[in-house]
Symmetry: D2
Subunit: 403 residues, 4 copies
């Protein structure tokens, strides 16, 4: 057992920290100013492309992708501490490094399951950061915690397929750079439960697609990331080669996509919690009430200690999970992936809540990143299945030893 | 001891419940549609005036005001269960009954401390619901939990006063109907600690006033209520008779204003929690996951039971506090007013959080009122001083018996 | 609505407070000394009988019994604040007033359902405090949260009945004054679900009864109260007139017994929490660490404030429940009785835990009453059905409005 | 970074697991029977010596001692998973392996700071398991969280020293095998704050020592371990060579002793929590209520999942702390040692509480180990300084980065 970084991780960690200090944190203010001047709320503030260029020049690009041909070839354990750092500025850093959801998951899917033509047409520009993509899975009318519920149909029709259905929370779909939708639907509702689903590549401008509206998250539109769209698919036709890995592969691909997706979220949440704790400590060191700095108040100190203790524990669990994914595979790490999905969002929510409280009214406003960080953490207690579903599943697995 | 309603309360309770069912809940959907079509985000959707007319016709008007000349003449204990009901639709019902903050507090101040001229000019149209008002107290640069920190100056100058300072969280200031700012500042920084402050009536269109921006609460602008403004006062001149009750009375007026203000918030929070619990129960009774309604899951049942138990306790504490305010006065009820300020917002936050979780992604979005309710409840853990300040104060009072 | 005491309650409240101050609190120390000198751990320290005499002289006797012939004739709402006070010294005061469980429940049963002969033989000496009694209901082999599970058999045999079974947690059974066991068993396992059970009066010295052992609660034997016995009934024969109200009445009697039993526990728990808070405040006012009294530390102040807020809310819910029992009956108050069963033990546990923490190692030891109070409160999260059963039941009742 | 065991740890882990399965768990029942038959409550049940012999034969002896001459020479990181396992049966396994507190700490002190004569006289028989020892530090009259408060005096007198003072919570002092007290007192109250204290070896039978009483922990006397004694030192005379490392070294030795002591407690607490979770899962798999096993109830599943998630996180934090102690020393691991002191006892308390609840009344009784485990975990939120002191200290260290 050993808790130290290997050399490559240590080097990238230092490089990335420098990049954050020199480029990303200063860009947060620039971003705010540029966003305030946009006429179209969905337009792209130029600072993002500047950061992408800078990150790429520093060799901080596609770090998430374990595939050494297409990506940086890092293990999950090596990527974890880096993803954490990007979580400290979650609206800029992940995209700057071309490591932002949902593109990361989509790139993984295309790298692992895509045909050479699909890789050429979609994976390549995604890896270059030239286009972005959305993942259309969740549907408003069914419980998203059970993937077999999906109702969107992908029907064979002549030499192609026709898609009909309604999706929502298709994040990034309203980003003007978004060119690709990866859509999950059912090709064969009569097949075995996990063989009914299929994934398909759909160019965003295909006729029949309507973006109905953007979903809000506690008042936020998340416009910078292309929002969270409700999308109608009304007789949307795609050629047969748009299917990823063929009919009936959708559930398996979704499962393969989820493991890394969840751990990436958790890694970034650790960084979000660290940022919140940093903001909290900075605030209470400066702010004076009733004649002394808030930092001297026992309740505030308790928040800080608890935050530190909770963050450390959560980080270690994420790191161990990454190590298990590397050594025994995503399936072998199933329990731990569920465990971090349960533990980390609520930990981050707790820490950010305390930072908000320390800031008073400023904490809930646009004057700190905290309220928006909180909304993201809160939402991750729901995304990819609510905590309660994961808890019940983890418990049943634990109980199997006793039956 | 007796836990039943008196006759007048029972009658008004029934009337108000009918009004909610027949007018307010249906208007929530209308409101949403009207808001979506507004060009100016600060404009007033017509449904609000419709509701005000309807409420007034039904005799549901100015219920908050204990003054029998200007208002309905209800005791706090009589008003409490009514205010609770308005909290069930907090963006419509309180204003419909002319019982919305911050106007209620401002009307109380004017009724109790205003000169006949001030009452004629400001109180009358406020009581008629013709204008609205803002209360400019909190400042960005000092800890708002300690009212003696206020830095805005109100300096004597010839036959008038000149105001300089920066306020924020002046709720309602961007409402086009807002005509009056009641501003708190210091006329004599050298006076005894609680005699430095003064309140003054400032017409909103007085030269020197600049609305700098609206503060967001999580992602919400609260435009319907006129937002939460940051306001600059740059040499704003008012005549001497704009002072309320004279120089040095500001702190005392603020204290008088706070008691009822806090209990009104708490009453409405009870209603918000009830509404959330109702939504939760409705949702889980319908939504099926993994083959059975969510309502049959043990964890959901625990949320419901805990919610019911917490709401009941909080409501009783609010009612007892109202009774104490009526029988021994706001000062005699000081500990209890603090107690509800501590207990009720966090209770409501907890209940609403569970309802959000039961709704999944819809819960954090604009498709239910829950996310916005949550943001309001969360903010009330901060408004009028963070929980921690009230806890420390309540504890010191408890400890006095032992020293 | 009115939150003040009526005159009789106020008078008894004052009288009882005086009795606590003048007799009970000083007797706690005496008790400890007498217990330390007992050779038989189950023997009775003489101070208890002294207190009983003193209480009776002051007119503080059988206050729990609403029956005006046999008892004090108080309503539940009148008794509640008095029972609370006795909870402040739970090992002395309830018994001193002849208001201790399980005798209170047994006396209620006999007063309401007993035959004149049973009342003469058992109720009279119980009301006089001459004997004590046990209630034999819970069984080790079945889930006690579901009363229909009971396995003990009461079989007709000639002109009597024969009892066979195993009970545990028969509190008070090892008290040398204990003369009566009220035993619940099944006379007709084939009858309708709630008509199978019967209750029967069994003299403690009946052949066939074996006290197997005393159950511990954490490390406590609760010897002062006669412990918690595991009892074997091996062909225990009783005459036919030992049945209370006849065959098949057992479930109904048990239900009638439970409502008051639960609220009495909750009333006393409020008093236990108040005592703990008092001890906490006294401790932190005196104890100095790192140069200042603990009372000045923010975390301690938060405990005090939270304790005060939680106690107040719980008390009001208990009082409202008592009022409902008086006005709409135990059945009408069913939800509220469950609500206090859920809310109050965990509230008391929380408050006492904080007091323990403030005392440090002394808090877990025999040098304060806190550790024992804690064990009692913790156990009441289980007794009469664990919290979880009550929560599920309360939730299902709440959900009925939506189906 | 690597989360796997090294070979030696893996081997010892397997050996120890076998020992637990084959010897320790079966001995728990034997222990109970032997204890029930003891006439003297402080006598030693023979099963303990049997286990010690068996453990030693298997090479499971003195694993705690990193010193390769006197002990097993394991690093903290190697010992941690082994200590965890012993925590699963905390009243038997640690002593069986000669790894029980307070002897472990005392042996570390003697191995590191003792003179050759002290090592020969005391360390040797301790390492052989022939005698046991107590550590007399805490005092009833001062806040034990601040070690500089100690009031016991150790005064030079001729060629020796004379000790006067009162200690309590001297664990193990009433064990008939206890031969040595290591006593901390002040030799020079006028010296610099951390140079006033001295430690001294005192044979238990030295004249002037009175064991006043045993302290209880939630009703438990912990007699098996020799209890927790209150000890009077009345002119207790020792020769000069009884001092450990000379005058003024006491504080430094105490600090050196605390780090390992705390981590050992935390390691065992992980094991206690695992045992509780195992008992919980076993119970709910078997116990049927309302027609189905408790294991199928959602609330129970939530407890299991939460327990698993909390245990995993806590374990990783303990392991990382052990690694830090090995790589950067106890001082470098200061924050992490505090962090586990804060995190682990409350985690274990939480898990054990849930197991108790699943067992119902059996859970608080002597029929499961749970109630006693709980009392131990609860007490460790206090021992070596209450959580609150550690939190404040950890927070101040975190805040230093910001000042």
């Amino acid at each position: 057992m050993d808790f130290g970084f290997d050399q490559r991780t240590a080097e990238l960690h230092e490089k990335l920290t420098d990049f954050m200090d020199e480029e990303v944190y200063p860009a947060e203010h620039t971003l705010e100013q540029q966003v305030a001047q946009l006429e179209d709320p969905w337009a792209r503030p130029p600072v993002v492309e500047d950061l992408k260029r800078a990150a790429r020049e520093r060799g901080l690009w596609n770090l998430f992708l374990p595939d050494p041909v297409h990506g940086a070839g890092l293990t999950n354990l090596q990527y974890a501490p880096l993803a954490e750092i990007t979580g400290r500025s979650p609206h800029l850093a992940p995209e700057a490094l071309n490591c932002a959801a949902p593109d990361t998951g989509n790139m993984e899917v295309l790298a692992q399951f895509g045909s050479p033509e699909q890789q050429d047409r979609w994976l390549k520009p995604l890896l270059e950061g030239q286009i972005r993509s959305a993942f259309c899975m969740t549907e408003p009318d069914v419980a998203s915690s059970d993937a077999t519920n999906i109702a969107t149909s992908i029907e064979r029709d002549g030499d192609g397929y026709v898609i009909n259905g309604r999706k929502w929370w298709s994040s990034g779909a309203m980003n003007p750079n978004c060119a690709l939708f990866i859509v999950m639907g059912k090709t064969d509702p009569a097949a075995e439960r996990h063989r009914q689903q299929t994934m398909v590549c759909v160019p965003r401008d295909t006729p029949g697609i309507t973006i109905k509206r953007g979903m809000h998250v506690f008042g936020y539109t998340d416009a910078l990331h292309g929002g969270h769209a409700e999308v109608l698919f009304d007789n949307v036709r795609v050629p047969a080669d748009a299917l990823i890995a063929g009919e009936g592969q959708g559930f398996a691909i979704a499962q393969a996509r989820l493991g890394p997706g969840r751990i990436h979220h958790c890694m970034r949440l650790i960084g979000m919690a660290e940022r919140a704790l940093e903001l909290l400590c900075g605030r209470v060191s400066q702010r004076v009430a009733f004649g002394r700095p808030l930092a001297e108040q026992g309740v505030i100190q308790e928040w800080i200690a608890e935050s530190r203790v909770r963050i450390e524990q959560a980080r270690l669990l994420v790191l161990k999970t990454a190590w298990l994914m590397d050594t025994v595979g995503n399936k072998g790490a199933h329990t731990e992936i569920q465990a971090i999905k349960i533990a980390v969002p609520s930990m981050a929510e707790w820490v950010i809540d305390k930072a908000i409280q320390a800031y008073g009214a400023a904490g809930v406003s646009q004057d700190t990143p905290l309220a928006h960080l909180w909304a993201s953490a809160r939402t991750l207690r729901l995304a990819d299945g609510p905590d309660e579903v994961h808890k019940a599943s983890l418990a049943r697995r634990e109980l199997r030893k006793y039956s």
